[in-house]
Subunit: 195 residues, 2 copies
């Protein structure tokens, strides 16, 4: 694998490795990409993106975990997505429309983020059409999975076990239940039922 031959260490190695799962990039492409990244630290419970904030970047979680939430009138916010180490994240709606966000993104643990600003993404696309593939990154983020619409709560939980087992190790039942759109009591009973 080409990236394995890189002998200059970079804190962004994990981002670059992840990028390469989206296509074949030259060393020059990768260097240019890396030059466009910056770093950001966010403390536990602080916000990567506040409600009604403008999302001007795509992020990559070098370390930590985040919760993407949708505020609700009666105060019962809903979890719309969960991110763990080495996930890409952004608020798709705000980022693509460049309008204030409806949702917000909060650090569940202390986070180290690699940041790709929107203007940097545009520069990348100008630089090489291969970075249009970065659009694919966006695609990965919008993980409100339409297939799950047809599944029962138990099926959704089993699907979660299959597809995102790391979430079970990272987030408490209450958060997972909200993500699955069921009550914590129901999730507890599902767990008991299927062991």
């Amino acid at each position: 694998m080409k990236q394995k031959s890189r002998y200059i260490w970079t804190m962004y190695q994990a981002v670059i490795d992840s990028l390469q799962s989206f296509g074949t990039f030259s060393e020059k492409d990768l260097s240019f990409f890396e030059s466009k990244l910056s770093a950001r630290a966010v403390r536990k419970n602080d916000f990567v993106l506040k409600e009604k904030g403008l999302c001007q970047a795509i992020y990559f979680l070098l370390d930590g975990s985040c919760i993407h939430m949708l505020p609700s009138a009666n105060g019962t916010d809903t979890v719309v997505n969960l991110y763990t180490k080495h996930s890409w994240l952004t608020d798709y709606q705000s980022f693509t429309s460049q309008k204030p966000s409806v949702a917000f993104i909060q650090a569940f643990e202390d986070c180290q983020l690699a940041v790709l600003e929107i203007h940097a993404l545009h520069e990348l696309i100008q630089y090489s059409p291969i970075f249009f593939k970065a659009g694919k990154l966006l695609e990965m983020m919008q993980y409100t999975d339409i297939t799950s619409l047809t599944l029962s709560p138990e099926e959704r939980y089993r699907d979660l076990i299959d597809r995102r087992p790391e979430l079970l190790q990272t987030f408490p039942l209450k958060i997972l239940a909200s993500y699955l759109r069921i009550t914590p009591e129901t999730l507890s009973r599902i767990r008991k039922r299927i062991q």
Copy 2:
């Protein structure tokens, strides 16, 4: 408005008008865009995109209406989106990944479509970065609305009345119910309840 001064008639006028809601384009941009469009007619009940088909274009509904469905194991397909005259449509997942689709798109009425092929979109982006805004079109299509996750069936129906009233005029109760992820009986009762 600039587009109103165009004196050469084109069957694609509605597409061009719609495009302009995404940004400010020069006459040259618009002509180039228009030169990349083609036309396609789809008869009622025929498929704009078949299940496991490769979605290689973004479409604009010049006339007619379409249903975007997700097939289900037991034969009870689920409506994931509905489109009426002057809507953009595509299968986001298949289009962006260029892999076979999970869902399919069927003409509910006879349809006239303007077609923008993926290679044409790439040419547009090369031509002028303003067409990166076409990414915004994609955004509009992926209308599996996350805000609706927190709403009850009745609230989702009220939301539909507010935001997409044209759907009520176009599609029968059975289709709307599937789109709202409730049974036709429940939708009928909601209608009675709220008059």
